[in-house]
Amino acid sequence: MAIALASPTVTGPTFLARTVVARRTARRSLRSAVLWGYVFGITVASSAYSYTTIYKTAAERQRLDAVFGANRAVAALFGPAVHLDTVPGFTAYKSSMAVMIIGAVWGLMHSTRLLRGEEDAGRWDLLVSGETTLRQAVLQALSGFAAAAALVWAITFVITAAVGQASSVRISVSSSLYMSAAMVSSAVIFLAVGALTSQLAASRRRASSYAGVVLGLSYGLRMVGDAVPGLHWLVWTSPLGWVEELRPLTDPQPLAFLPIAAFTAAAGLAAINFAGRRDVGGSVLGERSSREAHLGMLTGPFGLTFRLMRSSIISWVVAVAIGGALVGITAQAAGSTVVGSSVEQVFTRLGAAGAGARAFLGVIFVILAMTVGFQATTQLGLMRGDEAGGRADHLLVGNVSRSRWFAGWLLAVAASLLASSIAAGLFTWVGASLQGSGIGIWSSLAAGVNIFPPALFILGTGALAIGFLPRFAVAVMYTVLGWSTLAELVGGFVGESHWALDTSLFHQMAAAPAVAPNWQTSAVLAGLAILMAIVGHQALLRRDLQEE
C-alpha cells in the first residue's frame, strides 16, 4: 500500500522563476527596441548623407551655419545649431531633437504599457504571487528595460559607426559610441519616469499622461533656455536639456551624463520603493478604492460625459496653457533673429509673413493647432471607447437616444477644444507680455480662437467616421492630423512643394497673429465640421452598435 510519491526537492525558487518578469519584459521590448535602434541609426545616416550631397562646398556650408547657427527661433524649436559647417555638427543637430522626442515618447509609452497596462489587464495577478513580490517585479521590469535600452544603443551605434567610416562623413568609433549613448538617453530617462508614474497612477492612461506632462515641461523649459539670452540656466532644469547639453559630435560635455544618471536612478528607485508599498492593482495616488458617492453630475448623458472627460479636459487645457506661456516667453528672443534669414522664407511659406515675435508666434499657433487637433483625436477616442467597451449600451437602453448620446459627446469635446484654444491664446499672451514682446491680448486671444475651427474640423472627420466606420474613427482622425502635420513640415522646409501645403488642413487657417485671422475660412471649416457631424449622425442612426 505504501506508494512512494516523488517528493519535489525543496530548494529556493529557481533562477528562471526569479527572473520571469525581467525576461518577459525584455522579450516584449525586443521588437520595438530593434525598430527604434534601426530608426535612430538611419536618422543619423540619412542626415549625414543628405548633408554631404546637398552642401558640397565649404562656402555653402558656411552660409548654412551663418543663417541657422545664430537663429534663436530654430534653437527654440529644434535645439541649438552649432558647427553646421561640418558633417558631424549638422548630423548631430539634424537628428538630435527628433530622436530625443521619439525616444522619450517611446520610453514613456512602453514602460507604462508594460507596467501599468499589464497590471490593468490583470496579468500581474498571476506573475506577482508567492516568490515574486511587486517590488521585485518592478525591479525586474526595470532590468528588462535596461536590456532593451542597451539594445537600442548597440544598434544605433553599429549603424552610426558604419556610416562614420565613409570618407565624406568621418565620425570616429568613440564619437559614434558617445553619440548613440546621447541618442538613447531620453528613452532611458522616460522609461524610468514611466515606471514611476505607473506606480503613482491607477490606470495606464493616467500613468502615461503624468509622464507626458513631465516630457512637455522638459521640452518647454529647455526651449525657453535655448531661446532667451540670460535664461540659459533653465536648460539645466530639464531632463531634455541635459540630453541637449551632451552636445555629441561637436563639443562633447560628458558631465551632463551625471544629472541624467542621477535622475534616472532616482526615478527607478522611487518606482521600486513605491511598488513595495502598494497592492497589485492599487496605486500610490488615488489609493482609495471606495469613496462617498458624488451624484451631482450623474443625472444623464451630458453630466456623465463631462465626468468621464474631466481629467482629460483639465490635462489638455493645463498642458496647452503651460506650452503657450513658455512659447510666449521665447517669442521676443526667437523672433528677433528671424528677419533676413532663410527662416523667414520658411515662415513665409507657412503663412507667417513678417518678422519678429509675431511671425514666430504665427508658426507657434500652427503647432498649437496641431496640438488641439491631437486633443480632439484622443477625446473622440474616449467616446468610441464607451461604445466599443459596451458602456454606451447602458445609456442607449434607457431614455437616451442615439442622437442625444452622439450630440452630448461631440458638444462636450467641442467645448473642451474651445477651452484649450482660448487657454492657448491667453497664456501665450501672458508669456509674451513677461518679455515685453508687444503682442496685444486681443490679438493673442484671436489667434487662440483661430485654432479652434481646424480642431473642430478634425473632430468632424471623426464624427463622420463614427457613423460609417466606427472601428476606424480614431485612425481616420490620426490620418487627417498626421497628413496635415507632415504636409506642413514638408511644405514649409522644401520650397518647391507648395502642393503639399495646400493639402494641409493647418495651411487653410491664417497664421495668426502673424497675419489677421481669416474668419471666413474659419466659418467654412466649422461649417464643414458640422456638416460631417450631421452626416455621421444619420449613418449612426442606421447602423448596429459595434463593440470590440
Partner: protein, 304 residues
C-alpha cells in the same frame, strides 16, 4: 389567443445576418405579459443577438419586433421606458463607484424603487461605496442585476444574468425573479443552464444555431425533464434494447451513461440483474440534452 396589448414581446420573422453567419433566423416569438420565459440555447445560438435586436442596439436584416405593442426599431426610447436590462457583458465605468453607477442607471431608466434597491443591495451583499475598478466579475454582475431589478420595470430582459455569481448569490437571484413574477413583471431570461430555466420559468423557448426549435411549457416538453444516469455494473452489461425512453446511450466496458425520459424503474430493473456497483442519477446539462435530442454536433455545431 392573447390580445395584442397583452403581449410583452412580439417578433415576426425577426432575423439578423452577419456576413456568413445567420445569427438569428426568422424568429416568431410571443411573450405574454406577466410570464417568466426561459430563452435557452448554447453559446452562439443567438440569444444576445435577439436581446440586442429587441433593444434597438442592432438593426434586423429582416422582420420586426415590438415591446408592449411599440416597434423596437422605430421608437426605441419609448419601448425602453417599460424595459430594464441585464446585459450579457458586465461592462461598466471603472472610475465610478457602485452607488454612482446605480444612481446613473436609475436616472437613465427614469424610475427607481429606492427602498427595494437598498433591500437588493443587502440581499446581494454589495458594497456600493467601492469603485467599479476594484469589483470582481461577480460584483459587477450584481450591480447590473440590482440596476435592472430596482426599476421594477414591466419587462426584464436578462442575458445570462447569473454568469459570475456564486451559488449563494444565484439563490438570491432566484428569490428576486420570484418577486418580480409575483408583482406581475414579465421576465425574459436568456440562459445556457437548463437547471436555472427549470427553476424559474413557466415556459421555455429553445434556440439552436439561430433558429427557434421549440417553445412550450416545461410540462409540455417532457423530454426536457429527462435525467442522466451514470452506472457501473458488476457483471456483463445487460441488453438495454427493450428499455423505453432511453437516449444518448454511451457504453464503455462496464460503464454506462444515458438519458432517461419518464420512469427510470425499467432501466434500474435491467441493471440490477447484473449487479450495480455504482449509480448516479442527475439532471442533464444542456449539452447532454442537445446530444440526446438533436444528435452529434448539435451543441457545438457553430463554434467549431
Amino acid at each position: 389567443m392573447s390580445h395584442q396589448a397583452d403581449l410583452a414581446i412580439r417578433t415576426q420573422g425577426l432575423a439578423k445576418q452577419y456576413r456568413d453567419v445567420g445569427a438569428l433566423v426568422d424568429l416568431d416569438l410571443e411573450v405574454t405579459a406577466g410570464e417568466v420565459i426561459g430563452y435557452l440555447g448554447p453559446n452562439g445560438a443567438g440569444k444576445t443577438t435577439t436581446i440586442r435586436l429587441l433593444l434597438g442596439l442592432i438593426r434586423p436584416s429582416a422582420g420586426r419586433a415590438q415591446i408592449f405593442g411599440v416597434d423596437c426599431q422605430r421608437r426605441p426610447v419609448e419601448t425602453h421606458r417599460r424595459v430594464a436590462v441585464v446585459p450579457g457583458e458586465a461592462n461598466l465605468w471603472p472610475e465610478l463607484t457602485g452607488a454612482e453607477t446605480l444612481h446613473l442607471l436609475g436616472q437613465v431608466h427614469g424610475a427607481v424603487d429606492v427602498v427595494y434597491r437598498d433591500e437588493l443591495i443587502d440581499r446581494f451583499e454589495l458594497d456600493p461605496s467601492k469603485k467599479v475598478r476594484t469589483y470582481s466579475r461577480g460584483n459587477r454582475q450584481k450591480v447590473l442585476l440590482i440596476g435592472a431589478l430596482m426599476t421594477r420595470a414591466d419587462l426584464l430582459l436578462m442575458d445570462e444574468p447569473t454568469s459570475g455569481l456564486d451559488p449563494l448569490m444565484e439563490q438570491a437571484f432566484r428569490v428576486s425573479v420570484g418577486e418580480a413574477r409575483e408583482r406581475g413583471q414579465t421576465v425574459f431570461l436568456s440562459s445556457h443552464l437548463l437547471s436555472e430555466v427549470e427553476a424559474l420559468c413557466n415556459r421555455v423557448a429553445i434556440l439552436r444555431q439561430g433558429r427557434l426549435v421549440e417553445v412550450g411549457s416545461l410540462s409540455e416538453m417532457r423530454h426536457l425533464s429527462a435525467v442522466t444516469v451514470e452506472a457501473t455494473v458488476a457483471g456483463a452489461m445487460p441488453d438495454l434494447g427493450g428499455v423505453a425512453g432511453l437516449g444518448g446511450v454511451a457504453i464503455q466496458g462496464k460503464a454506462l451513461r444515458c438519458q432517461v425520459q419518464g420512469p427510470i424503474e425499467p432501466l434500474l430493473a435491467v441493471l440490477m440483474k447484473s449487479g450495480v456497483e455504482s449509480l448516479l442519477i442527475r439532471k442533464p446539462s444542456l449539452e447532454e440534452l442537445f446530444l440526446a435530442l438533436y444528435g452529434q454536433n448539435s451543441y457545438h455545431a457553430r463554434e467549431r
